[in-house]
């Protein structure tokens, strides 16, 4: 049986004078593919055991070793362990010598490799930043001319990360997490950083938080009783041992994070936009004033899933959600200028491409990508999770117009644009059947290209309004055909993991086991009308109701 291969669920492209590389996150690996010939240049983590500092740029004669899991397994794992598990506990700079007396961390028996969940690069293409899901690690890499990634640092966050971006000057990493908090980390860990409270933990004797005179509810009495049985206060959990800063927080799971700029009193000022599961988009000032809330962009009746600031119209925010709809905002004023119900807009497309295992109302916007080739060729690509379609929109001042729908060979996962080539690269789900997030393909359906290319049709400028043009794209297999190393999920060494991915017919969840990793938006949906979730349900209706009112009298900000 041919193995099921990991789809490339995240793409990022480095396209400048000395590097032309497509980085793809495929399961637990990051593959570097050449944009020139589509060949696989390098795979991280590498199977060869070079921990040295030599850059492969200088070692031209040596062929780039491929990941050979069958015989390189042991090495691969050992390396993974040292990079993954150990690094998740402390910052590890490669090549660093273990200090005298420093204890080797006990080996963690669980060899599960962490999945790469987020991937971005700096605009100069020198660094890549990835988040691995299971160990919550933020990893910073250098990217060599030959596409080789060398891990410079790994910092483990307290909670699972939901979104990752860089500040405008690219010196700071912003991370939004499942607890609703946004942290700022310097791109490179500060050398010699010491936790603030380095004082040895003195065990404090128990001091009850309340006296017998305190007024209590039953639950608090119980908590107090438990406190009393505990003789000593356990020492406070140690903080993170790298430089970081808590910028802001929602009391809700964060779903996306974006940075923006606007002119305030004649100066360009930074902003941070955060979206959450409870239908909010918050607009805060940028660092160092992220605690000052500028406004909110409200009105969603389902979780907000995606934020996109339009690069050529920086005052426009397009947000996608689980209704599913797209909403356009003048984000600085917190005013919604358009709401586009995707169910209505795409009834026709959805008929030809009906989700196999979900109703249309249970779809969510999984991606919004701006494309800008020149003033006359600009647009947005929008994907719904687990659908083999990409919707192309044009943007007139504050309104989206549907231009085209692209049919794909599989569910759209990620998109990057190749500006020079006037092309977009789309990674598709080669594992699940098109329009399914649960059913794997039959064996003969697996031979699909995991990455497809579309190019601009320049001869057909699409004028959606006077002087406003949208892009139209067409499939182009000739430009470059990417050849990825097959990261077969069965061949991954971890037995539990490998068998876990295999389709389980009795699986009753929304997603297949693999789908749970590459998708997952549906898990954000609140189950309405179920007795067990009454509380949440109420919250939800109330937010929707309150938001409706807010729209009539949109808040004015000075």
């Amino acid at each position: 049986m041919t193995g099921v291969r990991f789809p490339a669920h995240k793409l990022h492209c480095i396209d400048n004078e000395d590097k032309r590389i497509l980085l793809t996150a495929t399961g637990t690996c990051i593959q570097s593919l050449s944009l020139n010939d589509g060949k696989c240049m390098s795979v991280w983590p590498r199977s060869d055991d070079t921990d040295s500092d030599d850059d492969d740029d200088e070692l031209d004669g040596r062929p780039v070793k491929r990941l050979k899991l069958e015989d390189g397994q042991d090495n691969f794992l050992r390396r993974q362990e040292s990079e993954g598990s150990e690094a998740s506990i402390e910052i590890k700079t490669e090549g660093r010598q273990r200090q005298k007396g420093e204890r080797r961390k006990p080996k963690i028996p669980d060899l599960t490799l962490p999945h790469v969940s987020h991937l971005v690069t700096t605009s100069d293409g020198k660094h890549a930043i990835a988040i691995t899901a299971e160990d919550k690690a933020v990893r910073v890499f250098s990217v060599s001319r030959k596409g080789r990634l060398r891990q410079l640092s790994s910092r483990s966050m307290p909670k699972k990360s939901c979104a990752l971006t860089l500040t405008a000057d690219e010196t700071t990493i912003l991370i939004a997490d499942k607890f609703g908090d946004v942290y700022a980390l310097p791109l490179h860990p500060t050398a010699g950083y010491q936790r603030k409270s380095e004082t040895p933990q003195v065990q404090t004797n128990f001091k009850p938080s309340a006296t017998a005179l305190t007024v209590h509810t039953k639950g608090n009495l119980e908590a107090l009783r438990q406190q009393q049985t505990q003789k000593q206060i356990p020492p406070k959990k140690e903080g993170l041992d790298f430089e970081h800063r808590l910028l802001l927080g929602h009391v809700s799971l964060l779903t996306d994070l974006a940075i923006a700029q606007a002119e305030i009193q004649g100066k360009q000022r930074p902003f941070i936009l955060t979206s959450d599961r409870d239908e909010h988009i918050r607009v805060s000032r940028g660092i160092p004033q992220a605690h000052i809330i500028h406004t909110f962009c409200l009105g969603h009746t389902e979780f907000v899933s995606k934020l996109c600031i339009i690069p050529w119209a920086k005052n426009v925010l397009v947000a996608g959600n689980g209704e599913p709809s797209l909403r356009v905002y003048d984000w600085q004023r917190g005013v919604e200028t358009q709401r586009l119900d995707l169910r209505e807009t795409f009834c026709r497309d959805l008929e030809t491409c009906l989700p196999l295992d979900r109703s249309i109302g249970k779809l969510a916007v999984s991606g919004i990508w701006p494309l800008s080739y020149n003033e006359k060729s600009r647009g947005l690509l929008v994907a719904l999770e687990g659908l083999s379609l990409l919707f192309v929109f044009a943007l007139t001042r504050f309104e989206l117009r549907h231009v085209q729908t692209l049919n794909l060979d599989g569910n759209a996962l990620d998109v990057v644009d190749l500006r020079e080539q006037h092309a977009v690269v789309v990674s598709i789900d080669s594992v699940h059947k098109p329009c399914s997030v649960k059913e794997y393909r039959d064996e003969d359906g697996r031979d699909v290209d995991p990455v497809q290319i579309f190019t601009l049709r320049p001869e057909q400028l699409h004028e959606v309004e006077a002087e406003i043009f949208g892009v139209r794209l067409e499939r182009n297999a000739n430009l470059v055909s990417f050849r990825m190393d097959g990261i077969s999920i069965e061949s991954l060494s971890n037995k539990r993991e490998a068998t876990g991915y295999n389709q389980d017919k009795g699986h009753e969840k929304m997603y297949s086991v693999l789908g749970e990793f590459i998708y997952g938006l549906e898990n954000l949906r609140k189950r309405r009308g179920k007795a067990t979730d009454e509380e949440e349900d109420d919250d939800n209706d109330e937010a929707a109701g309150a938001a409706e009112g807010g729209l009539e009298e949109a808040p004015q900000t000075a």
Binding site: T211, L213, V215, A223, A546
Partner: protein, 229 residues
């Protein structure tokens, strides 16, 4: 959000127009975790022209407050000849999780006072994230409060009191502390709200009966600082 059902006495009296009816004023005082409504009921006659909203998470308790207000209003009915609106028509309550949905109800700088009276202490360290005061949430209170507006806190749990103080203006507040300043004791002594908060709320009375201590801290919202240079 239709406020006219909450405060019909303050509706704009214009029956000719088709536009949705609005209020002559907006809510200015919010009692977060209002419980059985003792605070807003006692404050109502003190500020008869100010709209106040109690917010409570428990559905049953909220319904009790709504019924209580309806009963008080029927005892103090509106009459057409009166110049002033009788008390209790300026208070109402809604069920809401304010930790999540505060900005859905109030606009930027809308409120002049927020009350956090005897909040759940959530003793366990693991549950501290559930406390109603945190550096993150204080940024939201600052958003809905107008500069000069105040957050009133009272508790009988000393540790929680210390927690709230240090999260508004102490070492745990981070940068958000620049938005808050603690109100002086002299000012508290002169503030009728402080007296009502400690003596007229149900929890306040209970603490008095038990002979417990009440810890009060009030914080004034400062103006937003300018953008950094």
């Amino acid at each position: 959000m239709d406020w006219t059902t909450h405060f019909p006495a303050f509706r704009i009296k214009d029956t000719t127009s088709n536009i949705p009816v609005k209020l002559t004023k907006q809510v200015e005082i919010a009692d977060i975790g209002c419980g059985f409504g003792g605070l807003i009921v006692s404050l109502s006659p003190l500020y008869p022209e100010t709209l106040m909203l109690g917010m409570e998470l428990r559905t049953q308790v909220t319904n009790y407050v709504i019924n209580r207000v309806a009963a008080l209003r029927s005892q103090n009915p509106l009459s057409s000849g009166q110049q002033t609106i009788p008390p209790y028509h300026n208070i109402s309550a809604i069920r809401s999780n304010t930790m999540k949905f505060l900005p859905n109800y109030f606009r930027q700088h809308q409120l002049s006072k927020i009350f956090l009276c005897f909040p759940d202490p959530h003793f366990k360290q693991r549950k501290h994230k559930a406390r109603i005061v945190s550096a993150q949430l204080n940024a939201e209170y600052a958003y809905v409060l107008k500069p000069g507006g105040k957050v009133y806190t009272i508790t009988d749990v000393e540790e929680l009191h210390e927690w709230m103080v240090k999260h508004f203006e102490g070492e745990e507040a981070g940068d958000v502390s620049e938005l808050w300043e603690r109100v002086s004791q002299e000012e508290l002594d002169a503030d009728p709200c402080v007296r009502v908060m400690s003596e007229e709320t149900e929890e306040g009375k209970k603490v008095t009966r038990n002979g417990g201590t009440k810890y009060i801290a009030v914080f004034r919202r400062r103006k937003d600082p300018g953008w950094p240079d």
